[in-house]
């Protein structure tokens, strides 16, 4: 399976790099980190041009983010039209808006690279919440530059150890993303318990 994936990069070149970063930013389960690591390794071996690889991966990621944001925005509009009849989705949307207003740019930036597995969902949520598109784009591009630099750079540096780097980096980014979700849910749970306790004492 991994071998087949790794063969995609030398066979199809940069096309596959752009495609994988774009699709993974739209929440499709594409192992784009592995593809970028591999591309970085092929830059080191002289099979791919470094600048072109970086630019292609970055363009794919930015396009994918924009598509995800637009999709979220349309979905959000649809939800708010529907929500006149049901209060639940309106509450969900209000929560998303609160989240985007509170975390905004920083959330978009960090979810591009540090917590990259939740990035695609951030695109949908910030789109649905009508976060300012210019702010989203600015922080999104900055974050993708970091993401692409890290993975293509790791691939370039540790190209002769591609499988080792891929498995360690993949699991570690899982720790960061799942850890962030755990922390978020934990804080939410704590505030829910507190407000319940306050109600009981009142």
């Amino acid at each position: 399976m991994t071998e087949m994936l790794l063969a995609l990069v030398p066979t199809y070149g940069l096309f596959i790099v752009a495609l994988s970063t774009a699709l993974s930013c739209m929440a499709l389960p594409i192992p784009s980190s592995l593809i970028m690591l591999t591309a970085g390794a092929f830059v080191a071996s002289g099979d791919l041009n470094g600048l072109a690889t970086f630019a292609t991966a970055l363009s794919g990621a930015i396009l994918g983010d924009q598509a995800g944001y637009s999709l979220g925005r349309r979905g959000g509009d649809y939800l708010s039209r529907m929500s006149q009849s049901t209060g639940k989705s309106a509450r969900l949307l209000a929560r998303a808006q609160g989240f985007a207003a509170h975390w905004g740019g920083l959330g978009v930036f960090l979810s591009r690279w540090l917590f990259s597995p939740i990035g695609p969902y951030m695109n949908l949520v910030t789109g649905a919440a009508h976060m300012n598109r210019a702010t989203f784009t600015l922080w999104g591009v900055l974050g993708e530059v970091v993401w692409v630099t890290i993975y293509v750079g790791l691939g370039y540096t540790f190209g002769d150890q591609i499988e080792a780097v891929a498995s360690i980096a993949g699991n570690f980014s899982g720790v960061l993303a799942a850890g962030a979700v755990t922390l978020g849910l934990g804080l939410w749970l704590r505030s829910a318990i507190r407000s319940e306790a306050a109600k009981r004492h009142a």
Partner: protein, 113 residues
């Protein structure tokens, strides 16, 4: 324990989600540690030649000059980045045979050094 059950009864979705996310974090944590330990072992570091690799990649990975690779492989297909699979196909041999030929050349080069 009683308190945990109380919390779970009052916030079933939220506490289940929290527990799941916690398990997932631990799972990836353990996998990170085991992967790091596995790859820290030098015995696992020499990357076996595989069908997806290109001559350039093997040269880079095994630190062998391009000329040695070229001599071992022979004329390359027109393709810019031929994988071992493509090369073997074109030469009408199996990937295993091609890998054996390249390995012989690499070890001969290393012995000569």
């Amino acid at each position: 324990m009683k308190r945990l059950i109380h919390i779970w009864k009052h916030h079933p979705l939220l506490s289940t989600g929290f527990a799941l996310a916690l398990c997932l974090t631990l799972y990836f944590g353990i996998r990170t540690v085991t992967a790091t330990m596995y790859w820290a072992d030098p015995a696992h570091r020499d990357q076996a030649l595989q069908s997806w690799m290109t001559p350039g990649y093997i040269g880079h990975s095994w630190k062998v000059p391009r000329e040695v690779m070229d001599a071992a492989i022979g004329t390359l297909p027109e393709n810019k980045r031929p994988t071992l699979e493509v090369i073997a196909d074109q030469q009408g041999i199996s990937v295993a045979d091609l890998i054996a030929r390249i390995e012989t050349a690499i070890f001969a080069y290393r012995d000569a050094q």
